[in-house]
């Protein structure tokens, strides 16, 4: 298929051919400009004006992001100047004590705060851009991969247990925490060959778990509560230049290292096989880039706490503004991130005035950032991954071979009965020993224990069912009510109830939490409906909303309002206050919703085949998805009122069921519900007897024990 008669000429480097490349090479950004040769001119008539033709193209590639940076910075400077103007206009030296104070405040608090905002924003954005490039994942960022939450947890733990460690090396503590979190996330992500979606899901689970543990720690140490809250949610307020001056060299060093990685990162765009074939050592590149990115995020968390979403949003804006090459993306993301956080912070200071010191900017960026993510969603390319057949299930299922889990059920049911009986009749007595309930106290103790056990069991079942539905619906084994933000919506509903009505009753709580959950669900469905409720979009919208709700709750917590503590206790999921009435209500809701779910088992069987296959068999996709999502939302809302939003039961129980070889929808649902109920009852039992006479909320117990257990399970499943 030779189009030219003398192709051999093409092999020998004809000088004209090379020269002709000159101007076009410049067009794509190479520094050296080539000479314009005759053959080049023949090919491209306008080549005489090569400078004119080439220059705009080079500029155009950078015009978009430059305009964004200019807009952000301009606006921020305008706001900053309004604050600075009266101080700068005052005569020097200050005529009176008040203006001298104002000047001191400006130079040693406001200015360092602005510098911190710029530097922290730059660090986070560079970190996020680096993650996105090296993982080829538009959703990666310190927030979504759980890096910041890991650093936060490490710092909280150090502050409470080994304060000396912080003086010794605050950055080191943060770095250890985030490296551990990153390691966990990548360990889980490796199961899916680092598919963008699964990685972010794992990141979210780790993030939620770190958040839960940090919450327990603060809960157990009330007196530090408020300041930890403010710092944990990312406050930029400064008293000196120490922090910005310590961040600057770190950012500079990281920037230098990133420059050295530019070319390998460019090659990385070819994909794993392509880059490897060119001799790129992928493992080393990934390690280097991830360590730099993790370190950047950890330094920021150590300096100012968790600042959400800058690392996700800044690179996304850079991409949408038209940057294409990795170098440009890194550069412009860094500047956009700096501008974004600077603008957010100056706007916050201008609007909130004196309260600004106590309103954590990190929470505010999350409140602004997540809607932005929602808007950007339709532009992100995602690909549906059909759920893999459970490889691990084979081994265990072989024990119950041929019965499709029927035999397993025959084992599980008696065990379930036994656990329930034990939970009621076995416990700690006042002399700290474990013993069976004495018959004399039968009436009293059953009246105390039965409601909470019933509530825990019902809630566990409902969460497990919701998790099963969501996992089948999305084809993603990391989907669950917690991850989807539905539980967070329920929390927000209760938060509103707490602040609007002084002492909301049980029904009011339930009503508000259901409203919150359904509102979140409705927004998710609305934003994702353009894609025909494509599961990936639904999950991403859920993640964004969940983060926003968390941020709002964080801001409420940071105000130090006593009602915030009630909210925190509610979020930790205590079954302590459950009345018989509440337990009956939970049981009733469970019975009703679970039987409705059972009616949908055919859909649940067919949907994991993938959207096109399922609709080809005749599953009405949109209605089916709508009904199932509605069910999942109601189930989570009802469960959340009794065990709190963070239990991970909705994630664990379906997983356990699958691991035991229950692959079809109906048996899996049944097994998952049993497991969910049992897990919650066990968590409740541990919570009330582990540190007797004190109590740990059941929701937290199940989260703390459950998440590591889940990680082990997932590793074994490989």
């Amino acid at each position: 298929m030779t189009k030219r008669p003398g192709t051999s000429q093409a092999i020998s480097p004809a000088p004209g051919g090379i020269g002709a490349a000159g101007p076009r090479a410049t067009a794509v950004g190479d520094a050296a400009a080539g000479e314009v040769s005759l053959s080049g001119a023949a090919e491209r008539p306008a080549v005489t004006g090569s400078a004119r033709a080439v220059f705009p193209q080079a500029i155009r590639a950078h015009a978009g992001p430059a305009a964004v940076v200019a807009a952000l910075m301009g606006l921020a400077l305008l706001l900053a100047f309004r604050q600075a103007a009266p101080i700068l206009a005052a005569p020097q030296p200050a005529p009176d004590a008040a203006s001298a104070m104002a000047a001191t405040l400006f130079f040693f608090s406001t200015l360092p705060r602005m510098a911190t905002a710029l530097l922290a924003g730059a660090c986070l954005a560079l970190s996020g851009a680096l993650f996105q490039l090296v993982l080829r994942n538009p959703l990666a960022s310190p927030t979504t991969l759980g890096i910041s939450a890991g650093a936060n947890l490490a710092l909280v733990a150090a502050m409470l247990f080994m304060p000396g460690l912080l003086g010794f090396g605050r950055d080191l503590v943060a770095l250890t925490g985030s490296l551990l979190a990153a390691g966990l996330v990548f360990l889980m992500g490796a199961r899916h060959q680092f598919s963008p979606f699964s990685l972010v899901m794992s990141g979210l689970v780790v993030s939620l778990w770190c958040g839960a543990l940090a919450a327990v720690l603060t809960l157990l140490n009330d007196r530090y509560l408020e300041s930890l809250f403010i710092w944990g949610a990312g406050s930029l307020s400064q008293q000196s230049w120490t922090i910005p001056l310590s961040l600057l060299p770190k950012l500079a060093l990281a920037g230098l290292l990133v420059v050295l990685l530019l070319r390998p990162l460019f090659l990385n765009e070819l994909g794993e096989a392509g880059a490897k074939a060119l001799g790129l050592r992928m493992a080393e590149l990934r390690l280097a880039a991830i360590v730099i990115a993790v370190a950047l995020a950890a330094f920021v968390t150590s300096a100012v706490g968790v600042i959400g979403f800058i690392g996700l949003v800044a690179p996304t804006i850079a991409r949408l503004a038209g940057t294409r090459r990795p170098g440009a993306q890194l550069f412009w993301s860094t500047l956009i991130g700096a501008g974004l956080l600077f603008l957010t912070d100056t706007a916050l200071m201008a609007l909130a005035g004196q309260v600004a010191d106590f309103l954590p900017t990190g929470a505010v960026t999350a409140i602004f950032g997540s809607p932005l993510l929602l808007i950007l969603l339709p532009r992100l390319k995602t690909r549906h991954r059909v759920m893999q057949a459970p490889a691990a299930g084979r081994r265990v299922a072989a024990v119950f071979a041929g019965s499709r889990g029927g035999a397993a059920l025959r084992v599980i049911l008696p065990v379930a009965m036994l656990v329930l009986l034990l939970a009621v009749f076995f416990g700690r007595s006042p002399d700290m020993s474990f013993r069976l309930m004495p018959p004399a106290l039968f009436g009293d103790l059953v009246a105390l224990r039965l409601p909470r056990i019933l509530a825990a069991f019902a809630a566990g079942m409902m969460l497990a069912a919701a998790g099963s539905i969501l996992q089948r619906l999305t084809g993603n084994e990391m989907a669950s009510p917690e991850v989807l933000g539905i539980s967070a919506g329920a929390t927000l509903g209760v938060a509103v109830a707490v602040f609007v009505i002084a002492a909301p009753g049980l029904f009011t709580q339930l009503g508000f939490s259901a409203l919150g959950a359904l509102a979140v669900l409705a927004i998710i469905v609305l934003t994702a409906s353009r894609s025909g409720l494509q599961p990936e979009r639904v999950l991403l919208a859920g993640i964004a909303l969940g983060a926003m709700v968390d941020a709002v709750v964080g801001v409420i917590g940071a105000t130090g309002d006593p009602r915030a503590i009630f909210l925190l206790r509610w979020m930790s999921g205590s079954t302590y206050g459950v009345t018989l009435e509440g337990a009956m209500l939970a049981g009733l809701a469970a019975a009703l919703l679970l039987s409705l779910t059972a009616l949908c088992r055919r859909w649940l069987d067919l949907l994991p085949l993938g959207a096109s296959a399922a609709s080809a068999i005749g599953v009405p996709l949109r209605p089916a998805r709508l009904v199932l999502m509605g069910l999942a939302g109601l189930l989570s809302a009802a469960a959340t009122t009794s065990v709190g939003p963070l239990s991970f039961v909705g994630l664990m129980a379906p997983h356990l069921a699958r691991q035991l070889g229950f692959t079809r929808a109906a048996p899996q649902l049944l097994a998952a519900c049993l497991f969910g109920g049992l897990l919650m009852v066990a968590a409740d039992w541990i919570g009330r007897s582990a540190v007797y006479p004190y109590e740990i909320p059941a929701g937290l117990v199940s989260a703390l024990i459950g998440a590591p257990f889940l990680i082990v399970l997932m590793r074994r499943g490989r």
């Binding site: 298929m1 030779t2 189009k3 030219r4 192709t7 051999s8 093409a10 092999i11 480097p13 004809a14 051919g17 090379i18 002709a20 490349a21 076009r24 090479a25 067009a27 794509v28 190479d30 090919e43 080829r136 050295l260 990685l261 070319r263 390998p264 460019f266 090659l267 765009e269 070819l270 994909g271 096989a273 392509g274 490897k276 074939a277 060119l278 001799g279 790129l280 050592r281 294409r324 090459r325």
Partner: protein, 288 residues
């Protein structure tokens, strides 16, 4: 051909002792390094995807790997390209085990085209082709005039100059495949490994890509190993065919030796017959 297990020893001797080198130079291919495998096996979870394959590809020839689905063609190619490490056995290049080469050294000698080339959508064609120079300049080295020259040569060889500044995203399937092959050209290796370069293309583009590869192989004297599904395409473009079945090498030879009803039935497990192309006098296989 000598005993297949011993070919690399002969080759190493040939380069070491001048007398032998002269004696073998007459065959035309002994002076160039040959790619081959020695007792190559690969298993996953106890399942053998490749069983003890010993093979030697002749330098300067276009070799086709054929076989049924799951016969181990792509696995063999991935092992040859060092994309995966063998469970047992060695890949040799010019007599030396390739494990002795560094990642970039290897990529200067052997280029590999993955089956999935959907990545790199946000690059221009020239940028994509320039990626092929990485093994030569490395992460930090200067992008020299020679590098630039090789990129332009590669664009010229594949007739991609008119679309050099277009985004890879905007190319058709055949053009995209050509752009990736241009990248392999810029890599300036002696050997190309192509994993089903025609799998997603219509028949005209299949012809275009394979003709291009064949022309490049002829003009630059490249050794090419290509995995192909279509036996007729393989027979038409390849100098030699290697047939795999259930992870084992079962036959090799020139296309007209291989394309007989008996061999084809052996390879694919279905009754097939062979006729002649009315215009070109090449064998054409069809299912009975």
């Amino acid at each position: 051909m000598p005993d297949p297990v011993r070919w690399w020893e002969m080759e190493m001797n040939a380069s070491a002792t001048p007398g032998l080198a002269v004696a073998t130079a007459a065959t035309g291919d002994r002076d160039r390094p040959a790619l081959g495998a020695e007792g190559l096996s690969f298993s996953v979870d106890g399942r053998d995807l490749l069983k003890d394959v010993t093979i030697r590809f002749r330098p300067g020839e276009m070799a086709g790997l054929v076989g049924h689905n799951g016969s181990g063609k792509s696995t063999l190619l991935k092992l040859l390209a060092r994309q995966q490490l063998p469970s047992r056995g060695l890949v040799r290049y010019g007599g030396q085990p390739v494990t002795a080469l560094g990642a970039q050294d290897f990529a200067r000698r052997i280029a590999y085209l993955p089956q999935d080339v959907t990545a790199a959508h946000a690059m221009t064609v020239r940028e994509l082709v320039a990626c092929g120079r990485y093994p030569w300049h490395g992460a930090l080295g200067r992008f020299s005039a020679l590098d630039r020259q090789k990129v332009e040569e590669a664009l010229a060889l594949t007739h991609l100059e008119p679309m050099a500044d277009r985004l890879v995203d905007t190319l058709s399937g055949g053009e995209r495949q050509r752009a990736w092959i241009a990248m392999l050209m810029a890599q300036d290796t002696e050997c190309l490994l192509l994993d089903e370069p025609t799998s997603a293309l219509d028949i005209a583009h299949q012809m275009e890509v394979l003709a291009l590869v064949r022309r490049l192989s002829r003009e630059k004297g490249l050794s090419v190993v290509v995995v192909l599904h279509d036996i007729n395409m393989a027979g038409r473009f390849c100098d030699r065919l290697y047939a795999l079945k259930a992870g084992e090498l079962i036959a090799e030879g020139r296309p007209d030796e291989m394309m007989t009803p008996e061999t084809l039935r052996h390879i694919y497990g279905i009754a097939m017959n062979v006729t002649r192309h009315p215009g070109l006098d090449i064998p054409l296989a069809y299912v009975c």
